[in-house]
Subunit: 553 residues, 2 copies
């Protein structure tokens, strides 16, 4: 996601007006962040609200106050900056998601997630683009063909930040991993599509161009993933080899944070998808690096990553809320209020239709590949997946600003309408759809059915503890594996290779992965049970076997 230099102006404008006003806006933001956290805490028990909606409402409220105080000319203090968003706020959120994600669920549903994220987004993109061409053409909005395709890419991007807020990993693990995983892949897809729309010669759409697009997508996906995995492994190796813990907790924490960020910024440097990279870096770090550090850095990194992500999320929603009142665009767009309303409504409709057009068919296809009843995606779950992915957020805003403004400013009527409509769709979908998601999830899936998979292990990020035997997730094998004892210490019934692979491919792949992991990866990169036990580390809840230093197995 390397955007052209024009897009930097937003940051510059925000920072440059003057030193004093930048201090004022930082003070304002920090105060509002504190307010959001306190209010979010007080509203914790409320079944409708969540932190993002609170932040959005406070943001809009503050925007109104600023507008009133400055008598309608304050938009410059808080121009939306893509750079701030993509370079500073998004990485901690996605990294933390990878760091805390239940890897078991994520890899079990890997194929479904890929299907939703890649093919689904393309379907959604096609429908929204076609719809835009048909409807907006009639409305005389005054956009070119490239703009219509860009609209498709912009509104195909599900807001994974918002999804993280409304779905609960512990309550609905399957849905969470599907919707969130889809969100991560989906982001890569939209960015590829968006760049393609901006770069390709659209007057000659041919099969070659289509193949180029698909090739580009796979290149992006694979190279981003590899970069994330390599950076994560490097961090594990560095920390294991030097074993900083003997000297300094702070060095371990600093190295983990810096290398996580390095993976993202390297991906940006190579024009890859930083989101995919940092997500996989998070997964690798929680599997290897996290186990190589001593006890205090474990607690510290776990909570620090979560806190940074939490603050960045609130910051984004505050920011979007405030920016929604950027008076310049509204003034231009308000000359044709009917068109604006019609465009916003049409976009909302297209987003809903585009998502429905892939969630239900692809769920059906996914169900065909599953044997066990409990692994299938039921109709109620399909509705929830459809619903939870309707929210559009900061990613859509950033792409829309990139397409329709020059450095945060626009005077053209068509562009102004698109910006205001994007803001309307983002606000409406986040607030209205967001408000209704919690009750909807509760209505469709009552709590008693949700409770069976709540994790009791609140400290240790789950490692690859997929049960090797039987179907039950709560099997003793799982619990046993979850307690820090590697599978070598137990007798394992080998799966009957080929037949097993055909029947339960994911599990067989997992079995061989685990063998490979224990034989080659862990001795080199560390991980659970492969670092020396530190006596007296007080919060280590698992059973330690006093591993000898660096066992070679």
């Amino acid at each position: 996601m390397v955007f052209d230099s024009e897009t930097m102006k937003g940051t510059v404008d925000m920072l440059a007006t003057s030193d004093h006003s930048s201090v004022v806006s930082i003070t304002l933001f920090v105060t509002l962040l504190c307010a959001c956290i306190v209010i979010g805490h007080l509203l914790e028990e409320n079944r409708w609200m969540n932190e993002s909606i609170t932040a959005l409402i406070i943001g809009v409220g503050t925007g109104v106050v600023i507008l009133l105080i400055s008598q309608g000319k304050s938009s410059h203090l808080l121009v939306f900056s893509e750079d701030l968003f993509f370079i500073y706020l998004l990485p901690p959120i996605i990294f933390n998601a990878g760091f805390q994600v239940k890897k078991k669920q994520f890899f079990r549903n890997f194929m479904t997630i890929m299907m939703f994220g890649a093919f689904g987004t393309m379907i959604s993109f096609t429908i929204i683009s076609l719809g835009a061409i048909v409807f907006f053409g009639k409305m005389d909005v005054g956009l070119a063909i490239g703009d219509y395709l860009a609209i498709g890419a912009i509104f195909a991007a599900t807001d994974s930040v918002c999804t993280l807020q409304v779905l609960n990993q512990d309550e609905t693990p399957l849905l969470y991993s599907l919707v969130f995983g889809e969100g991560v892949v989906n982001d890569a897809t939209s960015v590829v599509l968006f760049n393609a729309v901006q770069n390709f010669d659209l007057s000659h759409i041919s099969t070659a161009v289509a193949f180029q697009l698909i090739g580009n997508f796979f290149y992006l996906f694979i190279s981003s993933t590899v970069l994330g995995v390599v950076t994560g492994l490097l961090s594990a190796y560095v920390i294991k080899t030097l074993y900083f813990g003997r000297h300094s907790t702070d060095r371990e924490v600093a190295i983990m944070m810096l290398m996580a960020y390095l993976s993202y910024i390297l991906a940006e440097l190579f024009s890859l998808s930083g989101i995919l990279t940092v997500f996989f870096c998070g997964i690798v770090m929680s599997h290897y690096t996290w186990h190589n550090v001593t006890e205090n850095p474990r607690i510290t990194t776990k909570h620090t990553f979560a806190t940074l992500s939490f603050v960045a999320e609130i910051f984004i929603f505050l920011y979007v809320g405030m920016d929604a009142l950027d008076i310049e665009k509204w003034r231009v767009a308000s000359n044709s209020p009917k068109t604006s309303v019609a465009v916003s409504a049409t976009l909302l409709g297209l987003v809903m239709a585009g998502r429905a057009a892939f969630v239900f068919p692809l769920s059906f296809l996914s169900n065909l590949t599953k044997k066990a009843q409990h692994e299938k995606i039921g109709l109620k779950q399909q509705v929830t997946i459809w619903w939870a992915g309707l929210m559009r957020g900061a990613v859509s805003m950033a792409l829309a600003y990139n397409q329709f403004t020059k450095g945060g400013h626009t005077q053209e009527r068509g562009s102004a309408i698109m910006i205001t409509s994007t803001i309307t769709v983002v606000l409406f979908s986040t607030v209205v759809f967001g408000l209704m998601t919690k009750p909807l999830v509760r209505f469709l899936m009552p709590p008693h059915s949700l409770l069976r998979m709540i994790s009791t292990d609140s400290l240790t990020p789950k490692s690859f503890a997929v049960p090797l035997l039987g179907e039950s997730l709560d099997s003793e094998a799982d619990l046993f594996l979850g307690n820090g004892i590697t599978s070598e210490s137990r007798e394992i019934i080998r799966p009957n290779s080929l037949r097993m692979l055909l029947r339960t491919p994911t599990r067989t792949v997992h079995y061989y992965w685990r063998k490979f992991d224990n034989a080659f990866m862990r001795p080199v990169f560390g991980g659970r049970g492969f670092v020396p036990f530190v006596p007296g580390s007080p919060t280590e809840q698992s059973v330690h076997n006093n591993w000898p230093e660096e066992p070679k197995q």
Copy 2:
């Protein structure tokens, strides 16, 4: 420290050149930070090196490489930005210093610290300014009277960041608290002097102006301290009242971080000394707020603050190292190489003379007030204090850029010479003086005499555990108080008020402070022993008495 809007250009230049180049420079910085940490770790045992010198050398090396690659025109990528320094890098360092400082030592030496920091800096300022007027006038550098006074203020600022690196709090607690405490106060003094030089009408220096200066200093000192204390208490009250721990660790950590930063940025907003504010906020937070959160946030905040401070320090030295090669100023200054060298040497000499002129006389005065031999500052210690405060760092650089450049650029000969001389003094004093400090401390004070006060409590920041009885620091009373049991639970011999106050003022004040703290402050704001015991919190090493929830005494 609110500078005029011109100074923003540095940030803008750095960020604005283009999106891609900002990604490149971020990647470069993050990679170099990782390299510094790893190399710093490998050089841990080396008695000469420390992390700041490593970072400075790596920074200069990278600067050379960039210069060679760009064939001598790369200075714009990394223009020194005061804003980045004062708004983002300095606050975590100073906050952490306040958070981890041994309060006992700090408050015991409070009067000496104030004398050194305020009067000492003024003496130093006078000598450097007068010296500059005398010597630079002869050299025909071409500066105005205001510039000479500014030079006095710039070079009166001891680099507290560098001091933190070369002195060890556990090995030399008295020296550390004196030199570091002086550095914090000293910074406020230099900034007041610097602003005074820029704002006052210097052609009419009168007694009135001098009194105004002194009044300004006291106003700044007191209001900054009060702001820091109030923000810290507010954070303690908010966390204690809402008791976030029941719901979310991340909220507690986020509130602590945000409110700490808020104190700094509020001080900047009101044109106070953010450094003093955030330092006292750190002290209050470690005394109250830190005890109000649950176990995991305690570990997390302690290590996160330390890590952020650590990374910010390395970042600053890298940055200064790279910026040292800013080719533009060197080109202008190189037309008169002899003058440049003479100016740098003169400045170094003046810095040393200015510091000697207050350290030895003020130490003598301080010793007159102390009765006990071990509380006096010996000659060897005086030499160390003098030496450890000779380093000039990023604060001097930032002030020099503010005075002698417009947005990081200069073409005037006199200004260019001053900038290059500042860089020379900073590099020379940090590297040469810095390299020699560790050996010097070891030579003047051999390790066996240093060991007696090494703290064994590595987790809990020391609280106000001044011994109430006897002279010995290692008395049982101290150990007992240090274990989390408030003084109420033991019988205390009341000091014989007035006589006691005259003989040992600090201790008597402390006794009444402690009474007040336990009777009024702790019940409201929490603190050690005044928050409910969380069963099973594994790393709590102190003896818990199972306090009832919110005891009212």
